[in-house]
Subunit: 128 residues, 2 copies
């Protein structure tokens, strides 16, 4: 129960990027900006989402446990439950988790990691 749709991911990216909790309206605006930027000079003909759309997505993300909502304030405020790094690491563990041959997987994983990342990993593991 962890994979995200395109819009869900876009919203999470915004929540992860901003440090403050955001309202649905704020997020809608940011999404419009983003798509305008992506469309380039062509003019953002695409995506002006309805606020209800954003709210629906936020509810779904809340149900999935990725988003937390403050119900006290009137425009509710939404924020990511965990950082993107944490979430991504969780995903990696999830992929790894269901494998009966964890060591082999780790071997392959390490095998196809860039040298600089390998260095990072060595550092993190405490070199001994």
């Amino acid at each position: 129960m962890a994979s995200l749709g395109e819009l869900e991911r876009a919203v999470m990216d915004l929540l992860w990027a901003g440090q403050e909790a955001a309202t649905a309206n704020k997020l809608r605006d940011l999404l419009a900006q983003d798509s305008a930027a992506t469309d380039g000079i062509a003019g953002h003909q695409g995506k002006d989402l309805a606020v209800t759309t954003v709210l629906t997505v936020l509810s779904r993300l809340e149900k999935k446990g990725l988003v937390e909502r403050e119900r006290g304030t009137r425009p509710h405020r939404y924020q990511a439950v965990s950082s993107r790094a944490d979430h991504t690491a969780d995903l990696m563990h999830e992929a790894l988790g269901s494998a009966p041959d964890r060591e082999a997987v780790l071997a392959r994983f390490i095998g196809s990691v860039s040298e600089s990342e390998a260095a990072t990993l060595r550092k993190l593991l405490g070199k001994n």
Copy 2:
């Protein structure tokens, strides 16, 4: 384009487990066995899939690039394109890949790995 459904995964598990390429019929039988075993003494009332079902799934897996089919022989023979370990490692890279903060992700990942696996990783990264 990488996530698998339940049956798709069951089929891949069989292909990954067996060393030889298998036919659709063989796979159907193995699936029936598996579900019988899972059902325990209760009697495998559940899953006797039609061969066409297995064939459909195999086609979809082929389209996804996970399965390769020999069309020469009459009962076509199917096999996994890459090992489960490779595939899982790919998934991990995929999760990691889309992150702008790769180092942070790796840090979190390492942080929540068991000590024995950390040891494995150290060995694999071994400065040698």
